[in-house]
Symmetry: C2
DNA sequence: GTCTATACCCTGATAGAC
DNA sequence: GTCTATCAGGGTATAGAC
């Protein structure tokens, strides 16, 4: 296990992740990124041909970080697969609370900010969403016997993602976590009613 | 009933509505708006002090148009209040299909694009969401006897909005209406399971 | 690979005649 | 109220020495 000091590329991507999440892609200037990364223009353009290539690298970093950076902490100590769904939503609640309801899902925000994304960018956005809902689908399949046999577990996982994104958007716009909580409560009720049908 | 040719202000707001929806706020330049509205810089700045004031006007136009421009056509010929919820979602489906899944809710897109909105802007965004979910809540209250007495109909209306926004985001990112349809199907199931509890 | 300096363009906004 | 011309600033990206 060797620890090396992060090279310029790593620092640039890390800075861009933070800034794109905080201000969005269009409102983040290259100068902002250079400043935060402590790097000069020449180094950045040596590694990335242009700003969009940096965006692609950021989206790949998010995608690859979903497991270790998002799911692992959210699921620490939570074994029940269905509870893991709501533990993940609970993580977003924490992020909302910690930010006074200014938090926005970085991927969701980029997905709506970029109206005509390059195919490469759109593909990376989709990969992020797919990784998220696939992880939830895996949970649901582990608990498949609690749902009616004909339940579309992939669709249910996608639904959880939709509700999360919609709930974060609403909580953020109204600066009110209660909106998020009410959305999650509806989702919980939906899950319960599905599982009810196979209760012993 | 008098019809007057639209003045500059009207043309400017109309042009800005279209462009903000198509490209977003940040990616729309004043020059874009002037070009589409057929107006010169002097006229625009005579009416609006700055770009953000124009954004506020656009958000107010959307808010005031929700009834006549969105709900009225969606609900034409649909009398059942619960079906009206899904008729409205059906309208978004049409917009997705007509745009090859490039459609995005203009308000949702702005809500996520603008990371640190001025309080006035945030308030107008919230008013738009509130007008949407209030209209749905009214439908649900008209049909309140089909739901268990303790059902939080306002929360259910907010939930419909969250699902719509999440479903449009996903359908758009994956360029696939089927994602939208699966989300709506889950919502329908949720409604059905709630109404089941009070079936005769 | 990294530095500084800068080219070149487009942005929002203004000035002042009409 | 509307026109044209323009300002000042910041944007991405590049050039070329080191």
């Amino acid at each position: 296990m060797t620890v090396v000091p992060p090279g310029p590329r790593t620092r640039i991507v890390a800075a861009a992740m933070e800034l794109f999440a905080d201000k969005g892609f269009g409102s983040t200037s290259i100068a902002d990124i250079l400043g935060r990364a402590g790097v000069n223009s020449g180094s950045l353009y040596h590694v990335f041909p242009g700003k969009q290539d940096l965006l692609v690298a950021v989206l790949e970093a998010y995608r690859d970080g979903i497991g270790p950076m998002l799911l692992a902490p959210a699921w620490n100590g939570v074994d029940d697969p269905v509870e893991r769904v709501f533990a993940l939503l609970g993580r977003y609640r924490e992020l909302l609370v910690a930010s006074d309801c200014r938090y926005g899902c970085p991927i969701g925000s980029l997905a709506l900010e970029l109206h005509e994304p390059d195919p490469v960018v759109r593909e990376r956005l989709a990969e992020n969403f797919a990784a998220w809902s696939d992880a939830i689908r895996n949970c649901l399949e582990t608990a498949h016997d609690r749902f009616p046999a004909d339940t579309d577990l992939a669709a249910l996982a996608e639904f959880a993602l939709m509700v999360m994104e919609g709930a974060v958007m609403q909580a953020r716009t109204f600066r009110d976590v209660a909106r998020f909580d009410r959305g999650v409560a509806q989702l919980r009720r939906h899950f319960d009613s599905l599982m009810q049908e196979t209760a012993p």
